[in-house]
Symmetry: C2
């Protein structure tokens, strides 16, 4: 069987599993989730052994320290996967819930009800915990899932998937409800994203090149989890103490994540007062500042920001700084250079707040708070499959509800159309 | 300027217009819609003259009578476009409405609010009224629209678009909020569906080859308005009089549309009683029946149904008929051969109803009613841009709400993340 046929078979089996999944009740699903968690616990040693193979190969292949750290499965990280799985069991099941209901003048009753999407493909990179986390969320929402992890985590992912499938099977997990693509052949991704009629949605989670490859080849819907080039705009009417606190938090609390701050926009009227305070605080946190010419005039120690600094997601202790003429100027900069993820305004002005909210075209717009809150659990969703930077179907943090679609159920007594 | 550059310019202008559209209030939008309707009325003669050019060319190029009929713009059809435009002005504006709101334990207020999608491309075939209908719906929801009609309607579409743009401009329609691709070069569609970062969504409305071409080339989200291969299943516990009425309505009332019945599934226990009644009624309506071997045994006048009959959207007075063993058998047939559009069960059995609703994977599932009701205005949405056969973002009839997305607005008092 060649790769093309193999992928069609995986898709066909997933579709078949999805038909069985719609018949599982919440209680059965939760008991399966706990059985999967139990098996992860029971298989801890073999999972760590598989991970050691990946780590050794990673060392030999010259992976960076950061990549090796993402790849590593310690006891603590496996325990965290297990807790995550049980936490998903505790979440409210959105499947079957009524979104709305109305009666037409001809007596037809229309009910709009949440149903699973069907078959979801998840394409991700080096963190092996994604295997367990996303399988749990897709299964809880009665979706069949096809997982495709990074090449460097292939043994770890296989060990985790084997445990989930074996554990789930003990309590009635439908066959092929969770499948892992085990070949490391890159062509498998292209085949996966072209399985029209079999796979309903593909979610790529990873770097720019992964997302572009998926988008280019896909014949099926894709929800991109793209970069976060987040801005904070300090308005002329900002509380500057609050502005500094929020800037420090958004940039420094965890610089390597998508909701961290990358570009700070400062209104010209407060730049002279604010920028020196910023420079002092950022130097304490070892943050390198890169400013436009006006910012540099106020704080000469800043490096010069070039055009690329407005488009780069540093994911590091670097902050680009631009002095703007007005709220409109800040909005225009964000809409031009941003990634439609999370952007904040710090101001006491209701007028500026309103304009910013209306005109900034991002999934999450903040007033007087840190962008770091764009996160499924911080939003109260319990867990997230990721953060969508697309506008269709799901925008921002994607929780369980965003892994469902809906169906109209129309009930009559013989109504026909005139 | 070559086609590639031209399309990028169209996309860039549309994005710019979309930034202005978010600032228009409902009252301004409605007055613009009425001004567009007024101008259609004023330009009626020039629209008909443009249509005559298309009709003459269509005759010369050998278009079928059905295609010429779809292309024709009579006074009555232009009046209907004008009424449609004014009706959209009367619809409730979903933009800005609050979907939900909650407060987090840290005091952050999260509001989920409807916003425009941004820039929408509509690709359609021969009916020129689609130009006005879809422009009105996209504009009412503050989206910029790029229209691409069929080659055979190019003069009609240009005359309609010119009237809309000129009429709208009198009341403040932002420049390039409505654009029509005027070249008939087929390569323009491929360029359009690859305008990542400029166009947010493409909706293809048309035949199978159009949809496949768009899906194959697209790098941006697509909501397919695909075929309707609709089924009705007559259960063993059906009220047979109701079943016959519904079958006649779903098949004959307007056979050329996507929510018309194409395949009838009949439970074996009532086949002997029901099929002769069906044959008699269908012969009155000149419907050709194509049955499987069991149906043919009961009604020998039926033609034989071959495998292709289960996958063909006839859009004509033809009905394929299959005798099934059980509700499960009917469901399996629908999920295998259907187009996930609209499917009905006729039964008094609550058990069969429940099973059918849960397991049939279609946008709209009917109990004891005609599938012909899958329609925006029949659903009470007022108007529709079409009927989505996809599962992501919008499923089934797409009204104004489905032309919006949402944004999270998070308001704080300086909250930072621990």
């Amino acid at each position: 069987m060649d790769l093309h046929e193999e992928m069609i078979q995986i898709g066909t089996e997933a579709l078949k599993a999805s038909r069985e999944l719609v018949m599982l009740g919440t209680r059965s699903k939760n008991s399966i989730l706990h059985a999967m968690a139990d098996e992860l616990d029971a298989q801890k040693e073999s999972i760590k052994a598989a991970n050691k193979i990946d780590m050794d190969e990673g060392h030999n292949n010259g992976l960076t320290t950061a990549m090796l750290d993402r790849l590593l499965l310690s006891d603590a990280r496996i325990d965290s996967m297990i807790r995550g799985m049980r936490a998903v069991a505790d979440l409210k099941d959105p499947v079957g819930s009524k979104i709305s209901r109305w009666i037409r003048p001809n007596g037809l009753e229309i009910v709009k009800r949440r149903v699973p999407i069907g078959v979801i493909g998840i394409i991700y990179e080096s963190r092996p915990n994604v295997t367990a986390d996303t399988a749990a969320l897709c299964f809880k929402t009665s979706n069949a899932v096809i997982l495709r992890g990074g090449k460097e985590a292939v043994h770890s992912n296989a060990a985790i998937a084997d445990a989930l499938i074996a554990g789930g099977a003990k309590k009635g997990l439908p066959e092929n409800a969770i499948q892992l693509i085990r070949t490391t052949d890159r062509a498998a991704v292209k085949e996966l994203v072209q399985l029209e009629g079999l796979v309903d949605l593909v979610i790529p989670r990873g770097g720019e090149s992964l997302i572009h490859a998926v988008t280019k080849d896909a014949h099926i819907p894709v929800i991109k989890h793209y970069k976060g080039l987040c801005h904070t705009y300090i308005d002329a009417e900002a509380n500057l103490e609050m502005a500094l606190n929020i800037t420090i938090n958004a940039k420094c609390q965890r610089p390597g994540v998508c909701n961290a701050l990358e570009t700070l926009l400062v209104h010209k009227d407060i730049a002279k007062e604010f920028l020196p305070q910023l420079a002092e605080a950022m130097s304490e946190y070892n943050v390198e500042l890169r400013g436009d010419s006006i910012a540099q005039k106020t704080v000469p120690s800043m490096k010069e920001a070039v055009e690329d600094d407005w488009t780069e997601e540093y994911l590091d202790l670097i902050l680009s700084v631009k002095v703007v003429e007005s709220t409109q100027d800040a909005i225009d900069h964000i809409n031009k250079y941003g990634s439609r993820h999370s952007d904040a305004i710090i101001t006491e002005s209701a007028v500026a707040q309103k304009q910013f909210i209306q005109e900034v075209d991002s999934s999450t717009v903040y007033i007087n708070a840190s962008t770091r809150f764009t996160d499924g659990s911080e939003f109260g969703m319990g867990a997230e499959i990721g953060i969508s930077t697309d506008k269709l179907h799901a925008r921002g943090p994607m929780g369980l509800e965003e892994l469902t679609t809906y169906k109209y159920i129309v009930s009559g007594k013989g109504q026909i159309r005139d």
